[in-house]
Point group: C2
Chain length 229, copies 2
DNA sequence: CCTACCGATCGGTAGG
DNA sequence: CCTACCGATCGGTAGG
């Protein structure tokens, strides 16, 4: 997954290992972002490189200066999605209290997906289109992501905040509940924070999510989970 | 969405409104089932009519005797998926106790999706490929499906079995948790019933699902939700 | 249900 | 980053 550098330098000798120019990186970012939009709207197979190129006011052949293949372009969309998500989620690792940590993860996932469903739609729904060449790379990052949630569930179970469920099952259950919003969420009508609160209440009882000050929790009762095993 | 009948009758006059022959219906069922497999494995766009035809030992052109277009074939897969799911779920409507009804719906959804992810994968992930011609039909059935869950959540909230959440948000949260299994479930390794129990425990506390006799619930504590508003 | 075929699209390459 | 182009695939139709 090495990138070809675009050298504008004049140094003599063999200009090897030159890092990519800022223009190159910026253009690459535009391309990946545009590809994400195209693949979201039309799917990977029906979304053509021409669609991507035209949206950038380029010719299709020019894209091959930046990516080796359409498959690599899809991989770059995937990589950006999971890398961004991993970065976000790792901030929550610092939270010591099991209940607060899990609540933060739940809120983060629900709100992230609700606010920018684009990358997530591609990541989730085009997953079987990803070339086997890139599967291992994405899968390992995905596993790290799952592990963050599984560890949080484990800690929550140990602290009696959740019933004694299998950490992997629990993590997938929570990820399903919160990620599913990309299928049905209507940004015009629905409030992401309100849905995040719903998830937290269902899983942790009332008061689990630190809602922004001034937002009334309108009558949802505090529900305490008993300490278990 | 009328079907062309395959008349082998010899009656004089205009043979109108003949119902499709049993062979025609059987063949149509095979075609839809095969299409579901192809669209699941390759996606709608990359899965060709030739793939479907070859799997049935037919020529591609012959499929046009049964469907008007590839788009209609996708619609038929969708229709079968949602119709079957609706039939299943409507049995739960008879259950009066709110807690038991919700538990039954949770289990049904989780187990159904885990046991036969094929149709669900197409239904969920190829949704944006469905032609606008068929959108309204599928969407209305989908809404009925959602309503079943929303009403169950509403009743559960009223009975104090769930915290006071918005019924639509709650229904989508539960559908997400349970449907998501088609993304990660490993039939070789995971037990569908065990995951269904996990979901029920997370949402309803212990003992919410009528597990098959003899299955120990290994230490999961009964968690009671307080009566609310 | 088949053979034969068309028009269009698309990923990718040559060569600059 | 462009023009020009190729080979392959695919949905759909004609006509039987």
């Amino acid at each position: 997954m090495s990138e070809r550098g675009h050298t504008s330098g004049r140094r003599p000798g063999r200009p090897r290992n030159t890092e990519p120019s800022p223009e190159y990186v910026a253009r690459m970012n535009q391309i990946v972002e545009t590809a994400a939009k195209v693949f979201q709207a039309k799917g990977y197979d029906a979304g053509s490189l021409d669609d991507v190129a035209v949206a950038l006011d380029l010719r299709k052949a020019s894209l091959y200066y930046y990516v080796r293949s359409k498959a690599e372009l899809l991989y770059r969309v995937f990589d950006r999605a999971i890398t961004t998500a991993l970065d976000n989620v790792q901030c929550c690792q610092e939270i010591d209290d099991p209940r607060e940590r899990l609540a933060a993860l739940i809120r983060l996932q629900a709100v992230s997906v609700a606010l920018s469903p684009g990358y997530f739609t591609v990541f989730f729904d085009q997953r079987p289109r990803l070339s086997p060449d890139y599967e291992a790379d994405i899968r390992s990052k995905e596993r790290r992501y799952l592990r963050v949630f599984a560890e949080a569930v484990d800690a929550a179970v140990a602290a009696g905040v959740l019933p004694a469920v299998d950490p992997r099952f629990g993590a997938q259950a929570i990820l399903g509940m919160t990620s599913w919003v990309y299928k049905w969420f209507d940004g015009e009508r629905d409030d992401p924070e309100a849905f995040a609160r719903t998830c937290a209440e269902l899983l942790l009882g009332g008061g689990g999510v630190a809602a922004p000050a001034g937002v009334a929790s309108s009558g949802s009762p505090a529900r305490k989970a008993p300490a278990s095993a």
